[in-house]
């Protein structure tokens, strides 16, 4: 078998050195009761050639419709951007791909310096002072941010806006369910209108909002931040589309205390939604309450600048049940892809990419506003908007258009099946990969099916 270097001769010689008669003898501590193949085991196939595996998996892949093979307007937390070929080339270098967490800094300076660059980039674009070396994704990052806010404020109430991605809300609720923290997730608010200010109190640990929100609305959060701070609460801002930070006022400038972002859209393909990378930034004074790894600058014995993982006394492998989080493995490679793509973009490219996305969305909206029977609901947006198709089931429309080779957005009913009033609502997104002809195809098809 191609991955196993031992030969039968090796095995014999090694067993002799060990003084065991067989490999099975080495498993003598395993109770007889469990020393059998489980049911189902024999149904599993035996080893297969690389050629066969490639053929079978390629056949499965061929049963899917790649988003890039058709006009695609899906967003809702996962955004399709063009990734330069050098990103994937670099992350596949064995020295990055097949290394472990950089616990031995002398032979991990590559990964560590990259994480330090990542942290700086995340801090810069979010307008925050510090950032960690990544979380699993934004959803778990939001949950960790809520817990962190409770640690900082010593309060036990978390308020989640109805404009936060439903998955972020659900994961936060689940994550905190069995702690002594109460999580209140407000109803979805497609128009961006809800009375958060009126609900913050002196018991609130944090208010969690998203910008642009799940429905595409952009908001000025400054007043909310001031209100939170006046009441001793923290403002946590989630960013689902990191490209927006190239054009929109960053949360840090609006007064956010913790910013959580989903980073997959920069550097990584959609991958059916995972793995992603959680961006996690905060004010500097909160850093010892942060979950996750941190790379920090230091010097070596010869006085040369270098990097190490630091402040690990917050982490589970040191503090065990008193740790800030149980997170261990994170998203190193996706963070690396993010960093390389961000470095390729740089100041000029990142801001231009953001403007390009916005202008594509403006073009899409202008065209959709001409479709009879369709209402664009979102007034101020980055690259995604909510539309209504009064009298139509948005999910049905999406399926009809999929049969015609158009991936026509995400129906809200996928997240909120129990809100009949949202059944006609559809999220539509444009990015730099959206062509005018794609927009025309969408608008024409919608015009037809809405007739």
């Amino acid at each position: 078998m191609r991955y196993l270097p031992l030969t039968d001769e090796d095995r014999r010689a090694m067993l002799a050195r060990i003084g065991a008669a067989s490999v099975d003898d080495l498993f003598s501590d395993v109770p007889a009761a469990a020393w059998t193949a489980p049911e189902g085991f024999d149904a599993l196939p035996p080893h297969a050639t690389e050629m066969a595996v490639e053929r079978q998996l390629s056949a499965l892949a061929a049963r899917n419709v790649p988003a890039g093979s058709v006009p695609c307007f899906l967003g809702a937390g996962a955004y399709r951007h063009h990734i330069p070929a050098s990103v994937d080339h670099l992350i596949q270098r064995g020295e990055f791909l097949t290394a472990y967490t950089p616990y031995q800094p002398e032979v991990s300076q590559g990964t560590l310096q990259t994480l330090f660059e990542f942290q700086t980039q995340v801090a810069l674009i979010t307008g925050m002072e510090v950032a960690n070396a990544s979380m699993y994704d934004a959803a778990t990052g939001v949950a960790e941010a809520a817990a962190m806010a409770c640690r900082i404020t010593r309060r036990k109430h978390v308020l989640v806006s109805g404009g936060v991605h439903p998955h972020y809300g659900a994961v936060t609720e689940s994550f905190l369910r069995y702690t002594d923290i109460a999580t209140e997730v407000l109803d979805p608010n497609p128009l961006g209108i809800e009375d958060l200010m009126g609900r913050v109190s002196e018991k609130t640990a944090c208010v969690i909002v998203q910008n642009p929100d799940f429905f595409g609305n952009l908001a000025d959060l400054s007043a909310l931040a001031a209100e939170c701070h006046a009441l001793g609460a923290l403002l946590v801002v989630a960013v689902a589309e990191p490209v927006s930070l190239g054009l929109v006022t960053p949360p840090g400038e609006m007064g956010a205390d913790i910013v959580v972002g989903e980073g997959h859209a920069i550097g990584s393909p959609l991958n059916f939604g995972g793995p992603g990378v959680g961006l996690f930034a905060s004010r500097k004074k909160f850093v010892r309450h942060m979950p996750g790894r941190l790379a920090g600058e230091t010097v070596d014995e010869d006085g040369r600048r270098g990097w190490v993982l630091t402040l690990s006394t917050r982490e589970q492998h040191i503090r065990r049940e008193k740790a800030t989080s149980n997170i261990c493995t994170n998203s190193g490679l996706i963070a690396l892809a993010w960093t390389i793509h961000m470095t390729l973009l740089g100041e000029a490219g990142f801001t231009k990419l953001a403007r390009l996305n916005h202008m594509k969305a403006v073009e899409m909206v202008e065209r959709l506003e001409q479709v009879p029977g369709l209402q664009v609901m979102t007034r101020q947006f980055f690259n995604e908007v909510l539309v209504r198709l009064p009298g139509h089931d948005a999910a049905g429309i999406v399926e009809t258009l999929a049969e015609r080779g158009i991936l026509a957005g995400v129906p809200l009913s996928r997240f909120h099946p129990n809100y009949p009033e949202l059944a006609d609502a559809l999220l539509l997104c444009a990015t730099e990969t959206t062509e005018t002809q794609d927009i025309d195809a969408l608008a024409n098809a919608l015009t037809e099916v809405l007739r």
């Binding site: 499965l60 270098r93 290394a99 070596d300």
Partner: protein, 489 residues
């Protein structure tokens, strides 16, 4: 060769990506446009490629050499898996496409579930946990949900052996449990008497690692599990060391209620310098109803993704945005299909054989902590260094100069100056012999009194030992522009 930070290179005028010019339409930002520069640097593509190539060259990796880091299962990462994960039909799928357009992807998830259930004999699997610790959380939240369903809110203690990974107590705490430690016995295993004595009606569950972190199989596991169940509690098995027993041990018959499986260890998806991984959690019939969303179920010719509660399912919630670590699933499935049931069994056998070979070759010189055959890891402590002035850390750093990644140091905590070595099955006998030769030579050198050789190691690395105290005392966690440049802003 020194490599500056990207912030110390280039100029904001440079750009490594060409983009078309945006249309010049009125914006719809509602006045929320960013003002002022962000402060990002600008580099051309050649500069970026060179920068990250050079940084990569400062890393050690499996591709470059032996990486016997105990508890981490650093095995070969086949490139076939990378190729498969990059097929456009997998990599370029949006998570919210209509399900009819992603049937192949849902089939991947379903096949993966079948493999994990077939390999463990368990009842159900939750695929969505993102990593081992996240899988632990899944399992323990399922325990909590089951207890809540039983109305047993007095059960709030979780027993965790002293040798456990730190994630175990941290996870238990996250589920609102109190942690009670269980000592080990002289054989390196859980003290059965102490264990049983701790079982009362406040106990919600037990978190055990098996093979444990001393590299030993908890041979009383079935007895322990029976006692746990008799006490009305649940048995969580930390599957971090599943690589030692995959294809050989029926997890269900050990009495397990939940176990996470690190796809990035046992099933060889790359560690990537710290992730991503995936930690699917298999569940017993008792816990299966509480599995988090989403689920995948075969229906007719296809597979359906269930994202909301249906029928009598009682999920404790949702653990992850979207549908889990799909890209990792593809890699793991590709690996499982390649090795097959026979290959996985051979792999665990070879992993254990390799560890015992290290034990046999090194055990006379280094001090083995416990007796008897080990599983896939060999544990030594620092008694052999006594009086030499060389610490476990020093010894590890000296190994770097010999061209090897050190073993895990100072873990598990239950032995002094621990050295935990996990060779995995993808290392050849030649590599093991070269490693043993080097370690034995170092041990001889240490005992010959040459302490300085060790305390000054490593010498041949991009950096020598780094000042971790300084890093923690005055944390510098991001680049800041030098003061004059700031003034000029």
């Amino acid at each position: 060769i020194e490599e500056p930070l990207i912030f110390e290179q280039g100029s904001p005028a440079k750009c490594g990506v060409d983009l078309p010019d945006p249309a010049d339409k009125p914006d719809r930002l509602g006045g929320l446009a960013r003002s002022g520069a962000i402060g990002l640097p600008g580099l051309s593509e050649p500069e970026v490629v060179r920068h990250y190539t050079r940084l990569s060259q400062k890393n050690y990796a499996i591709d470059a050499g032996f990486y016997p880091l105990g508890s981490c299962t650093m095995k070969h990462n086949p490139r076939l898996n990378e190729r498969m994960a990059r097929l456009p039909g997998f990599a370029d799928l949006h998570p919210f496409q209509p399900q009819a357009t992603v049937q192949g992807a849902l089939a991947v998830m379903h096949h993966l579930s079948d493999w994990l259930l077939g390999l463990t004999g368990m009842e159900a699997v939750a695929l969505s946990p993102a990593a081992g610790a996240h899988g632990e959380l899944c399992g323990m939240q399922a325990v909590r949900a089951a207890l809540d369903a039983r109305g047993e809110d007095h059960r709030r203690t979780v027993l965790v052996p002293d040798s456990a990974h730190g994630t175990n107590p941290a996870t238990a705490a996250l589920c609102g449990f109190k942690v009670r430690g269980i000592p080990g016995d002289a054989t390196g295993r859980v003290d059965v008497a102490a264990f049983k004595a701790a079982l009362d009606d406040t106990v919600a569950g037990v978190m055990l690692t098996n093979p444990n972190t001393c590299g030993l199989f908890e041979r009383d596991m079935v007895e322990l599990a029976e006692a746990v169940h008799a006490a009305g509690a649940y048995f969580y098995l930390d599957g971090a060391n599943f690589n030692a027993i995959v294809g050989r041990v029926k997890i269900a018959d050990l009495g397990v209620d939940a176990m996470h499986i690190n796809l990035h260890k046992t099933f060889s998806t790359p560690h990537g310098g710290g992730g991503p991984g995936a930690g699917p959690t298999v569940l017993s019939a008792a816990l299966a109803p509480f599995a988090p969303l989403p689920h995948v179920v075969a229906e007719g010719d296809g597979v359906r993704l269930i994202e909301h509660i249906e029928g009598d399912m009682q999920p404790f919630g949702r653990m992850k945005g979207f549908h889990g670590q799909f890209g990792v699933f593809v890699r793991a499935l590709s690996y499982m299909m390649s090795l097959g049931r026979d290959g996985l069994r051979q792999a665990s056998g070879d992993a254990v054989l390799n560890a015992n070979y290290l034990m046999a070759r090194l055990g006379d010189t280094l001090t083995a902590s416990f007796e008897g055959p080990c599983m896939h890891e060999a544990l030594f402590d620092d008694r052999f260094l006594k009086g030499t002035g060389v610490s476990t850390l020093d010894f590890a750093k000296a190994m770097i100069d010999e061209g090897f990644h050190p073993m895990t140091m100072y873990f598990p905590l239950v032995v002094h100056g621990a050295m935990l070595m996990e060779p995995t099955e993808t290392e050849s006998r030649e590599t093991l012999d070269a490693f043993c030769d080097a370690v034995l030579a170092l041990a001889a050198k240490a005992r010959a009194g040459d302490a300085a050789f060790f305390t000054e190691a490593p010498r041949h690395t991009p950096r020598r030992r780094l000042d971790e105290t300084k890093a923690a005392r005055t944390p510098v966690l991001r680049w800041e522009p030098p003061a004059p440049a700031r003034a000029a802003e």
